[in-house]
Symmetry: C2
Subunit: 147 residues, 2 copies
């Protein structure tokens, strides 16, 4: 479900299919994480979550984020100013692009770093197993606001 306009049912199904229960706190957190257009830290998820699930506890947020990551639905995001945020996981071979002004995130694909990997592999004699690629820039909106 690459750019599913409403990924929430799929996420809930994934949770149930994995033997986990569907609870109000989990639904609230799934709603937030599946539809956010930017990476969120646990405290932000907590604040947003309490709007629709007033009794929500911060501990439950941590536990649920851990579970969603384990299920491959979200992933931890690394940025220069910290690595405490999560965003929905990439589909297949996708990477992240961030707006440095507003934090909005986008997935992209189409990189082909195979030749680079081969070159580096030859030079260093490492066996390359994986790669991380992230782009940083300004989104269209923030360009207009001449930031």
């Amino acid at each position: 479900m690459p750019n599913d306009p409403n990924p929430i049912p799929g996420w809930l199904e994934c949770i149930a299919r994995s033997g986990y229960r569907l609870t109000a706190p989990r639904r609230a957190i799934v709603d937030i994480m599946a539809s956010s257009d930017r990476a969120l830290e646990p405290l932000q998820v907590y604040d947003l979550g309490r709007q629709s699930c007033p009794g929500l506890g911060l501990v439950t947020v941590y536990r649920t984020l851990e579970k969603l990551e384990e299920l491959g639905l979200i992933q931890r995001v690394h940025q220069p100013n910290g690595c405490h945020t999560y965003w929905r996981a990439a589909c297949g071979h996708e990477h992240l692009l961030f707006c440095t002004a507003c934090g909005r995130a986008v997935h992209f694909s189409g990189d082909n770093i195979t030749p680079l990997i081969e070159k580096v592999s030859n030079q260093t004699h490492f066996t390359i197993q994986d790669h991380w690629l992230q782009l940083f820039g300004l989104c269209p909106q923030c360009q207009q606001n001449n930031l």
Copy 2:
């Protein structure tokens, strides 16, 4: 000084030139960070540092790492299992390659992701300002130890 066999004098000069004082704790930490073949976390720097500077305090390690990062001599390293380590900074357009078994780090260059950046820029209408690229794999030694 890309692959200077002894980068320590240059680092010390950089510190002094920037108006900071050369103290025993700083010399010890520079010795460690300038010559380590892998990224280190503050507590590791502390343990190593106390071997040559017995009274060294952990707080001084944090403060000195912060300063070395500010001077562009070291940089924070991001890995799947955490982002609390530092390694010497890349020179110009270099990226990091890690051994997932032993943690050894290497700089490499020669990537050309300009075409990718142009493509993503056209697709997303973002202005791309910067990129992160990291490779993960097995170093020659760990391949031999069939890990």
